[in-house]
C-alpha cells in the first residue's frame, strides 16, 4: 500500500470515530428533551376539539405503542445504529409514519442549492477583496470596501435580512421576498421556473453573502499581510515578477491553503441550514425543519438532521485532510 493510501485509510477511521462520537452525543442529548412526541401529538389532537380525559389516556397508550417508543434508552440506541446501518433513519415522530429521510430529502436540495452557491460566492468575494486589501494596503477604495464588509459582519443577521427584505420587497419592490418560487407556480421543470427560482434566491443569497464575506475578508487580509513579508514573495518582487502575478500565484495561492480548510468547513456546515434565512425569506430548507422537530420533540427527525450535519462537517474535514497534500505540496503524508 502506498503511504498515501494508508494515510487516507487512517483519516477515514478518524472520520468514522468522530461521526460515531458526534452522533452518540447528539443521540443522548436529544433524548434528554422534556418534550414528548406523544404528548405533542395528543396536544395536536386535543386541539381538534376533544378533551375527554379518559379518551386522552387511551390515546396516549396507543400512540406510545404506535411510535415504537418502548424500551430503555440503551435499547433504543442500539436499535438506532442497527437501523442506521441499513440506511434507515426511521419514521418521523411528529409526522408519523412518514420516514425521516423522506422529510429531509424534500427540503435538502433547497438548502444545498442556496447555501452552496452563496457560500462559494461569499468565499470568492471575501477572499478577493481580502487579498487585494492585504496587498494594496494603502488603497483608500479597498479600505472603504473592507470596512463596509467588516462593519456588516456584526449586524444581527435577522436585522440585516429584514432590512434587505423591506428595501427590495417593500420600499422598492423589485425582488420576491417569500418562498423558493412564486406562489401557485407551475412546478414542472421549465425555463420560467428556473428563472423564478433564481429570482427568489437573490435576496436570501445576498443576505448570506453580505454577512459572511467580512470574516473571509478579515482572515485573508491577515494572511496576506503576513505572506507579503515571506521570502519567496520578496524574492519574486525583486525578480521583477509583475504585481498581478505575485498577487495571484504567490500570495493568494499560498493564502488559499488555510482558506480552503475553512471553505470545506463552511461547506460541511451547510447541512446545518440557516434558520433565520428560512424564517425571514420563507425559503424552504432544513433549518426550519430542525427547529420544528426540536419543538415537536421529534427526536428521530432531530437526530436525522444532526447526523446529516455531523457527517457533512466530518466529511468536509476528512476530504480536506485527504486533499491537503495536493493543495499544499509541503504537507507530507506522515
Amino acid at each position: 500500500m502506498t503511504p498515501y493510501l494508508i494515510f487516507v485509510l487512517k483519516r477515514f477511521g478518524q472520520f468514522l470515530l468522530v461521526v460515531f462520537l458526534g452522533v452518540t452525543i447528539t443521540f443522548f442529548v436529544t433524548h434528554l428533551t422534556p418534550i414528548d412526541p406523544v404528548e405533542e401529538s395528543i396536544g395536536a389532537i386535543t386541539q381538534m376539539g376533544q378533551s375527554d380525559p379518559n379518551a386522552i389516556e387511551l390515546m396516549r397508550q396507543s400512540l406510545r405503542e404506535l411510535y415504537g417508543m418502548q424500551g430503555s434508552i440503551w435499547q433504543q440506541y442500539l436499535h438506532f445504529w442497527l437501523r442506521l446501518a441499513t440506511g434507515d433513519l426511521g419514521p418521523s415522530l411528529s409526522a408519523f409514519p412518514t420516514p425521516v429521510s423522506t422529510i429531509i430529502l424534500r427540503s435538502l436540495p433547497w438548502t444545498i442549492g442556496l447555501m452552496t452557491v452563496s457560500t462559494l460566492i461569499t468565499f470568492v468575494l471575501g477572499n478577493a477583496i481580502g487579498a487585494l486589501a492585504g496587498y494594496y494596503r494603502k488603497d483608500m477604495v479597498l479600505k472603504a470596501v473592507s470596512l463596509v464588509f467588516i462593519a456588516m459582519l456584526p449586524i444581527p443577521y435577522y436585522i440585516l435580512a429584514f432590512v434587505l427584505l423591506i428595501v427590495f420587497g417593500f420600499i422598492w419592490p423589485v425582488l420576491p421576498i417569500n418562498g423558493g418560487y412564486e406562489m401557485n407556480a407551475n412546478l414542472d421543470l421549465s425555463f420560467a421556473l428556473v428563472l423564478d427560482i433564481l429570482k427568489h434566491s437573490i435576496l436570501p443569497a445576498l443576505s448570506l453573502i453580505l454577512v459572511g464575506a467580512g470574516s473571509w475578508l478579515i482572515g485573508m487580509r491577515a494572511l496576506v499581510s503576513n505572506i507579503i513579508t515571506d521570502d519567496y514573495v520578496v524574492f519574486a518582487e525583486l525578480g521583477g515578477v509583475p504585481k498581478g502575478k505575485i498577487l495571484r500565484s504567490y500570495i493568494a495561492r499560498n493564502a488559499m491553503v488555510p482558506q480552503f480548510t475553512g471553505l470545506a468547513m463552511s461547506l460541511g456546515a451547510i447541512f446545518n441550514g440557516t434558520v433565520i434565512t428560512e424564517i425571514v425569506f420563507g425559503y424552504p430548507g432544513i433549518g426550519n425543519l430542525l427547529i420544528e422537530a426540536v419543538h415537536a420533540g421529534d427526536y428521530s427527525l432531530v437526530l436525522g438532521l444532526s447526523a446529516l450535519s455531523i457527517v457533512g462537517v466530518a466529511a468536509a474535514v476528512f476530504i480536506i485532510d485527504v486533499l491537503s497534500p495536493l493543495i499544499d505540496p509541503r504537507i507530507k503524508v506522515e
Binding site: M1, P3, I6, F7, K10, V333, E334
Partner: protein
C-alpha cells in the same frame, strides 16, 4: 569507570506513521566512550549522518532502538520526573542557535533562575538569594556577571553573550557532561572563537566533558581531544583529533578535509 559509554547503539526512525514501512537508520551500531578524565569529543560528519541523533540519545530525548547507553555506569533510563531531574543534573545541552535558544518574549535570567531552583545541589529548594548566587557563579565561569544579564531580553544581548548565557545555564546544575550540537554554526568567525575557547577553559577549569558536534573541522581540530567522523549513521574514523585530521585514513574523512575552505588565498578545483 567511564562517564559515558555507548555500546552498539542503533537508532531507527520509522517514517510514515504507525503503519509506515519506510525505516531510516539514523545511527548504526555506534560505540564510543568518554572516560573519567575531562575531554572534548568532537563529532563531525556530513549532513544527516546521525550526529544530532546521537546527541538526542545521550540527552535522553530519544531511546536507542538497539544497544545500550550507560552514564556513570548506569543504563540511561528515564521514566519519571525524578529520574529525569536526576539525569539532567548530570547532562546538559548547549543548543545550536543562541538567538533561538531563548524565548524572545522572556527575560534571559529566567532560565538561569529556573535551573538554579530546580537543580539545587543542596537538595532543597533554594531561596531567591541563593538562586542569584548560583546564577552569578555560573555566569562568572563564562566571563559574564549577573548584573550584565539580569532583566535583559534576548534581543538586548549579542549572540556571543547569549550563547555564553546558555552555557552558563547549563553549568548551574554542575553537570559532568555538556552536549553541544553545532553550538557555533550560526555565529560569525570572531564569536565562534570566543565560544570554542570557552569550551577549552571549562574543560580545564571545571573538569567538564563536552561533546562538540560541528561541521567546522577547523575548530574541531583546534579544541577537541578526540574526534569521531560519521557518515550515514556509522562511525568511519575516530581517534585523537589532531592525529586524525592531520592524516585522515578513511576516504570520506579525506574528502571532508579536502572540502574545508582554508581561509588562505587559493582557489578551488
Amino acid at each position: 569507570m567511564t562517564l559515558l559509554s555507548l555500546s552498539h547503539v542503533t537508532k531507527i526512525y520509522r517514517q510514515g506513521g504507525m503503519l509506515g514501512r519506510r525505516l531510516i537508520t539514523a545511527v548504526k551500531d555506534v560505540s564510543f566512550e568518554i572516560g573519567d578524565e575531562p575531554e572534548i569529543l568532537s563529532i563531525v560528519g556530513e549532513s544527516g549522518s546521525g550526529k544530532s541523533t546521537v546527541a538526542a540519545m545521550i540527552l535522553g530525548q530519544a531511546e536507542p532502538t538497539e544497544g545500550e547507553l550507560q552514564f556513570a555506569g548506569k543504563t540511561v533510563a528515564i521514566h519519571n520526573r525524578a529520574e529525569r531531574t536526576a539525569f539532567m543534573k548530570e547532562v546538559q545541552p548547549v543548543l545550536q542557535n543562541p538567538f533561538e535558544a531563548f524565548n524572545p518574549l522572556k527575560r534571559v535570567d529566567r532560565y538561569l533562575f529556573e535551573t538554579a531552583s530546580n537543580f539545587s545541589t543542596s537538595g532543597k529548594r533554594p531561596n531567591r538569594r541563593e538562586v542569584e548566587k548560583m546564577a552569578d557563579t555560573a555566569l562568572h565561569h563564562v566571563g559574564l556577571t549577573l548584573e550584565e544579564v539580569k532583566g535583559r531580553f534576548p534581543h538586548e544581548l549579542s549572540g556571543g553573550q547569549l550563547q555564553r548565557v546558555a552555557i552558563a545555564r547549563a553549568l548551574i546544575p554542575e553537570p559532568r557532561l555538556l552536549v553541544a550540537d553545532e553550538p557555533v554554526s550560526m555565529v560569525d568567525a570572531s564569536l565562534r572563537m570566543a565560544i570554542v575557547n570557552l569550551f577549552g577553559r571549562l574543560k580545564n577549569e571545571l573538569g567538564l566533558s563536552i561533546i562538540y558536534i560541528t561541521h567546522d573541522l577547523a575548530t574541531a581540530y583546534y579544541v577537541s581531544d578526540n574526534i569521531i567522523i560519521m557518515r550515514k549513521g556509522e562511525i568511519v574514523e575516530r581517534g585523537r583529533a589532531r592525529a586524525v585530521l592531520d592524516d585522515p585514513q578513511h576516504a570520506y574523512s579525506r574528502a571532508l578535509k579536502d572540502a574545508v575552505l582554508a581561509a588562505e588565498f587559493g582557489e578551488v578545483g
